[in-house]
Amino acid sequence: MTLPASDEAPIGPVGSRIAVIGGGILGVRIARELLTPIAGGAIATGGVVLVTRRPDRAKVLSGSFGSSVAVFSDEHGTTELGAEVSTVVLAGAAGTQLDAARDNLRAGRHVVATSDDPDEVEAMLALGPDARASNRTFVIGAAMAPGLSCLLVSHAADLLDRVDEIHVARHGAAGPACARQRLRALRGTATDWRDGEWVERAGFSGRELCWFPDPIGARDCYRAALADPMLLVPEFEGVERVTARIAANRRDRALAPFPVLLPPPVEGGLGAVRVELRGEVGGERRTVVYGVLDRPAVAASATAAVTALRVAAGGCAPGATGLAGLGATRPILVELARRGVRAAVFEGAHASPLEVQVPVPEATVSTVTPEGEENR
């Protein structure tokens, strides 16, 4: 499999403004990532707009960002972003992004959605004809998983002549909304791709021990209602099996039917994504395993921001796609590595272990502690 020619272009300056809708942990971090200088030291965007639905939150964020970001409060979703905004990043809670995606595509903007809700992702994929008609790019699931996971799969697939199986596993959650979505996923119905058709399986079934980069190590992972397979299957013709799992423990499973009495933490701890591809190279069976270790909010925000910069620069094909189909895998991975989100390959027990690095840029450390339901 070869990557498109546009794959080699670097992340360059954009000029136009980029709007972030959602002022939770993910939205704030995306705004900061958009303000992070690209290679060469320049700020890529012509400006960043941050929209939150809570007026009190908007005041706090205005004080935090100062003049570097235009912060708007928009309780009813009616704020006009203006013609100078070319690209919108949707960073609200999963399940709330579909209408905003449709409206902004109709307004002629590129859209980058971070939702990992499978029903919403399916509905977003159905907006592909709208995006193509308006000649705009709609990137779906640009977070950690899906998102970074799709990039890793795309890059790993480059090492194989033929991809037969793709298995994604993730550990951790970004913020409260992400933690709630994780629980919904585990309680829901998983949809796996098996021998050319979708197969529904119960959440919390199919326990499998998956190795993540240290210090997370081995975790039991279960099937869950995740969006990765529906974003990956269209990009790998002939793939036989695609599955996605979440790390969980027996306590999660036992308490799954009960309401969550204790609120999830403001921001989760260390997370990880692991992708395993099985296929053929030169007629021989081969397995490739890639992983990333980082705080989920950091990895997801960097992925969304770099994707938005790439899309806003133009040159991406119109239509709705996941990151595996964007045709910009390597430039995005290179820029993510420059920002501290580094991928690793599993080479077996005899290789030197990956030095654990949890990059936390200064700009993200000073993030105002988010509160409330918008956090993810």
Partner: protein, 46 residues
């Protein structure tokens, strides 16, 4: 009657203990060796 109460209490305690033990022991035990991850460097991303 008192004997029945004691029996119920004993069964309840046994169930509680078994649940705790299952939580502690039922995770899949990974093999002791770990590591083997190598960070993707420049040539890997070209």
């Amino acid at each position: 009657m008192r004997g029945l109460r004691r029996a119920v209490l004993a069964v309840g305690l046994a169930l509680l203990v078994s649940v705790v033990v299952r939580f502690r022991d039922d995770a899949t035990a990974p093999p002791p060796a770990a590591g083997g991850w190598r960070e993707l460097q420049g040539p890997d991303l070209r």
